[in-house]
Amino acid sequence: MSSYAMTMAEALRDALRLAMRQDPRVFIIGEDVGIAGGFGGGFTVTLGLSDEFGHERVMDTPISEIAIIGAAVGAALTGMRPVAEMQYGDFVFCGMDQVINQAAKIHYMSDGQFSVPLVLRLPVGASRRGAQHSQCSEAYFMHTPGLKVVSPSNPYDAKGMLLASIWDNNPVIFLEHKLLYGGKGGRKEKTSLDPIMEVPEEAYEIPLGTVAVKRQGKDITILANMLMVHRALEAAEILSQEGIDAEVIDVRCLVPLDLATIEISVQKTTRVLIVEEDNLTGGWGAEVAARLAEKAFYYLDAPITRVAAPDVPVPCAPILESIYVPSVEKVVIAVRELVNG
């Protein structure tokens, strides 16, 4: 059993490759995903796959988000396992009817006679491209019954959770943060984080419906996902110098949500800070905060607090974007306030 150092893009590609080898029903559909000599999708994830699997299984489409998602739904109804890609996560809104009215509801409406085992991959997160190429949209999908929502923060999780999502018989919205893809073998993002880690060579699944405790601590529980996990860990380092010991939990799967693990953490630390890159109002943090307020009320020594992006569209200028996206400093300040009372 060997492993390789992989970026997240490589890990995702590896997952797709292994899944497609294992089951001929898995196929990829999206814009610029299979073109020979092309990009390999929005962010190189599908690069080279059409060489091995051909252009029918790595299917390029016109610019037709409604049709991309709709066709994925239709193919899923026949028993295929499509992995559809939106070139930028923001484009999913062009095809939202197919996600919300169709994919999410078909199993329920048909009394389980039909299911929609598709994965919809969305590159998300602010990356200096402006308001229509930057949104983190978890909240829309968390709010929709019938969808699962996954948002990994590192290569190991990404591969394991993509495989689990492909084998799941339900529509899974799979969010990938642009600044976490990694610079190797393709386009490198400015200010990207490019986490690289040892990832097992073979196929493995990380079950959906789990969160990961990235750092143990006793003074406060910080909940975060995707890029914000890394910011939170940085903040925890700084805070440990001040004698504040933060526990950081990677909420890598929002639906289904492992609230039990989070509750145990909160009971231990008595304080919660949620760090999210989506807009404050109605973000996933609001939902988790409400659930914790109900379940863990008598263990709270401080108000449940969120550090999120302000309720504005994502600005483009670097300095404005850096104000929009929650920073390490903002997290540190928020934690200090909560711990000191």
Binding site: T270, L300, D301, N340, G341
Partner: protein
């Protein structure tokens, strides 16, 4: 303007009460003093009056609902047309929470008894702190909050628990050879526990005592009694005389008719004297309002009525609130003297011993005289030694020359 009608401190227990009945409907005009609802405490069923004139705007609590003191139960406006939109929520939300709160008691609220407001002051504490304090049986009002908003946090409760353990460990455990009966602290006892604990831990008590020659007073009371019996009035007692004298003495030493409030001291213009009445299960302290304005016969009538009410448990809320000074008389048990605990947030309490006949030096001769010892406890933050001494001196002089306390017929309407 809209005002809240809030369940006042009914004195008896300090915990939850139940509204039995509303005596008014929305739209009714009420005058201050008119009873507007009936409420049951652990001890008594009490009619509560309106404390201001106005129009009943809205009734917020259903009869039969159990609610903590301090709950806003109705709204009253001084103009009949005022709408009630956007009025802040009260703590009734706790009752309708989806969470099962069956095992968790209501948090207790501190009662502010200044003469000005009859509302409640909230204690800010985190949910965790409240729970820990409740489990440790430490009243929140005994814990100082270290949070920025003054809120009590877990660390504050932990500190309070630690210091408790410290004091507990000083006393060796008692080996129980005989049968031990455990009685939970609740109701009136709980209230007494809390109030005396608070009083003794917060207030620096200072004591002064005086022995008073009561021979003139006794003779005086015989005469007043004869007259009262002829008139069919209540007969004044030593206690009534003492109340009258204390009220006058307070007029002379107004610094004692006060309350310590942390950053300020409140000096009350009106004199309301609380009279400690002992009951089988504890004590109650009904109030004689404006004691300085009441004639002796009026006082006699009032105290008679209060003693009756104490026996039947029929105090109204007005009876139990607003005292600015208290008097306790244990003379009937033959005590020479005793030292009373100040009734917070007052600044003084007078403890009266028995009136006893003893040999005394009077006009250079040794003759039998009647004597009574009075002990004054004061809050030294508010009352210095000299003030206490002057008060006691005045008190003594008035009792030794009781004619000075003017006599008038009892008023028809004694309140």
């Amino acid at each position: 303007m809209i005002f809240e009608i809030v369940i006042p401190n009914l004195g008896a227990t300090g915990s939850d009460v139940v509204i039995d009945d509303w005596l008014v409907r929305p739209g009714d005009y009420v005058e201050a003093g008119k009873p507007i609802y009936v409420v049951s405490t652990d001890k008594a069923t009490v009619e509560v009056e309106a404390f201001r004139n106005g129009y009943i705007r809205e009734l917020l609590v259903e009869p039969g609902t159990r609610i903590p003191l301090g709950t806003v139960v109705a709204l009253i406006t001084d103009s009949p047309d005022l709408r009630v939109d956007g009025f802040p929520d009260n703590n009734l939300n706790e009752l309708t929470s989806s969470h099962d709160v069956g095992q968790i008691e209501r948090p207790e609220k501190w009662v502010g008894e200044s003469g000005n407001e009859l509302g409640m002051r909230r204690i800010l504490a985190s949910p965790l702190a409240r729970r820990l304090a409740r489990e440790a049986r430490i009243p929140l009002e005994n814990i100082k909050g270290s949070g920025k908003q003054g809120q009590i946090l877990r660390r504050d409760v932990q500190q309070a628990i630690d210091s408790q353990h410290l004091s507990k460990s000083i006393f060796p455990g008692v080996g129980s050879e005989g049968r031990v009966v455990s009685v939970p602290v609740s109701g009136m006892r709980r209230s007494i526990v809390q109030r005396t604990q608070l009083s003794k831990s917060d207030i620096p008590h200072y004591y002064a005592s005086v022995t008073i020659d009561m021979s003139e007073a006794k003779a005086f009371l015989l005469e007043t009694k004869a007259f009262a019996e002829k008139k069919g009035w209540s007969s004044p007692t030593i206690t009534d005389l003492s109340i009258r004298a204390a009220a006058s003495a307070l007029r002379q030493s107004p610094q004692i008719n006060a309350s310590f409030q942390g950053e300020e001291i409140l000096y009350y213009e009106d004199i309301h004297i609380g009279l400690v009445i002992g009951l089988p299960e504890g004590i109650q302290v009904p109030v004689i309002h404006h004691a300085d304005r009441k004639s002796l016969y009026t006082l006699a009538a009032i105290t008679d009525r209060l003693k009756e009410k104490a026996k039947t448990g029929a105090f109204t809320s007005q009876d139990l609130i607003g005292s600015t000074f208290s008097i306790s008389n244990l003379g009937m048990f033959g005590l020479d003297s005793f030292i009373a605990v100040i009734n917070p947030p007052e600044a003084g309490i007078l403890a009266l011993g028995a009136v006893q006949q003893i040999p005394a030096v009077w006009n250079d001769q040794v003759v039998p005289r009647w004597r009574m010892t009075a002990v004054l406890s004061v809050d030294h933050r508010v009352v210095d030694g000299i003030v206490a001494a002057r008060f006691l001196d005045e008190f003594r002089q008035l009792l030794e020359h009781p004619v000075v306390l003017s006599l008038t017929a009892p008023e028809e309407n004694s309140e």
